[in-house]
Symmetry: T
Subunit: 69 residues, 12 copies
């Protein structure tokens, strides 16, 4: 691991189901173009309210991945 | 949206079930007196412990709503 | 409550299931050696990514418990 | 001033013109129902983007006012 | 406690005597209109200086109270 | 909105005119390569001083845009 | 001092009297089991409210002490 | 630049016109006694409210300048 | 007030008596060389521990004063 | 400089040698694909521990570079 | 890793040589009583000044280690 | 120590060698005009990049010194 360099990007996933699912949505989208993802960190948890209920959750995550040498 | 003014209030919901449910409890209570709620942001996630387990979750949220003109 | 002194410790639980379960794991481990746990506060929510999915969640909590007099 | 108690509320004003104008909008709306406003503090400056330009600015302010005795 | 929803408000009390007294002033004012206050948290401690001494302390507190169901 | 994933990037615009103009410069540059920009958040406001005046403002913004599915 | 290693722990003391007294309570309890305490830093000042007054103050402190070599 | 040492000071400028002008006021005052000012960073944006409008803006800036060798 | 520029400095006062007294010590020292002090803000509250008790409190304050035109 | 727009990215470099070397590793990797790098800011310093020693340092840096017009 | 629970402790190491060495001192002391240390994070870097030079560095680190099941 | 008042100033030292050396540069410059320096705290670590390498480190430190009575 000592020779690696990582890059972090910040994505926001949204889901009408819950917090973990919003994160899964962000990760799933990232995995289309980013390889070697290693970790995530939740930066903020927000939600959109409509008609007095949580219409969907919006979770912002930092995602770290290995840059190939 | 450019003509709107929003107000934010801070509520703490609690639930023995989980984090999202504690938020739903706070939103449900707010919807009794507040109209036009638009967003929420989780400010802190705490819990009350009893007999070595999480007796209930306490989630503090900021809730934003449109002020009528 | 006015006469009590509390101590806080910081643990990280991990779970392949979700955020609440990672907290439950940390609390369950703490309850083996710590009595009179009273509250928790989530300090960070992270995750380990493997093969493009969240392999497990890592949730760091502060746990407060009463010190016996 | 030593005998006063102040309350703070948090509003978000929006404007297509600029940052100060968004604050003025929030203050103008507050002045309809709140008397004795004394200070403001900018908490965040955001904007809504549409077609590649700033469609309007959204500035969140804390506003402090004197509570009558 | 699991069924309760709490609201937080932010007040600033002032006192020429000291920090605790400024908090007491804020709580006393709040108790005129708010029932079921449960906790406070000090957000900032400031002071007004006049003629080279602290003329009065200004302590901002968040106050949490139970919303009736 | 529930199905979208957003990405945030961080740019710094500069302007000899003022804060909003520095943001406009950053957004204008981003719009050359990024589509579907949705929001911005000001992260810091700095300035370069020369001969005792503000030679130009440097405003750092986070810009969020929709990732196409 | 250059050869020392210090450990920090976090305690919360409570007192119906005031902020300093809550700190003294935390330090007094710590001194039963910890030797060579060197410094403290106040991390938060909270209070429990009952019947519209501060029933007791809850002050969280970090306490640093020398680890014996 | 590698041989320089900089000092930072913190000033608050006020203006009835707007945020940039409050900064210009602070810089203009500093330039009477400080040479070689190099950068500024906005630390807070506040305002004084009077009769329901922003009577003047109060902007606190950190100002960095080169110390002569 | 709109024409004033303020400067902030940071001092730490210490006292064996308590928090307010440590602030008074810092203000008293500042008043020897600084005129027109207007406000203070507590930045941190620390203490030196000796023989298991608080030997003295160390309170760091920002102090703002008017710069003469 | 007034006409430039900068972008910031976040990388983590690792090194078994020390903090500066971990930064150099991150910069060296970035220089393969990024031109016109202008500044860095250290965001966090972490380390991986193995067999009771620091196996390697992990330093996260924000790197700013000029976007070509 | 999914089944592990980690504990974090906070230590301050000091060294007349430099920042990394102060961390090594803290880790070396911890390794006398703690097994399975996994990571560290630098929380603050301070120094003691004597006769106009840095007499020693004081680096505070959080150290995480695996709790045995 | 209980009778002392300390002042903090903020300097930025720069060095092409490394982080500690940038701090030493700042301290050396301060020692020309400030007596009785007692501590430092690193506030930020930045660097200037030129031709794809760290041309010099820029480390901002708070320096505390005793004010003579």
């Amino acid at each position: 691991m000592a020779d690696h360099v990582y890059k972090s990007i910040e994505l926001t996933g949204s889901s009408s189901t819950g917090i973990e699912d919003a994160v899964h949505k962000a990760i799933a989208r990232a995995s289309k173009t980013v390889r070697n993802m290693r970790w995530l960190e939740v930066a903020s948890i927000r939600g959109h309210l409509d008609k007095g209920v949580v219409a969907h959750w919006q979770v912002t995550v930092k995602i770290g991945f290995t840059l190939e040498a």
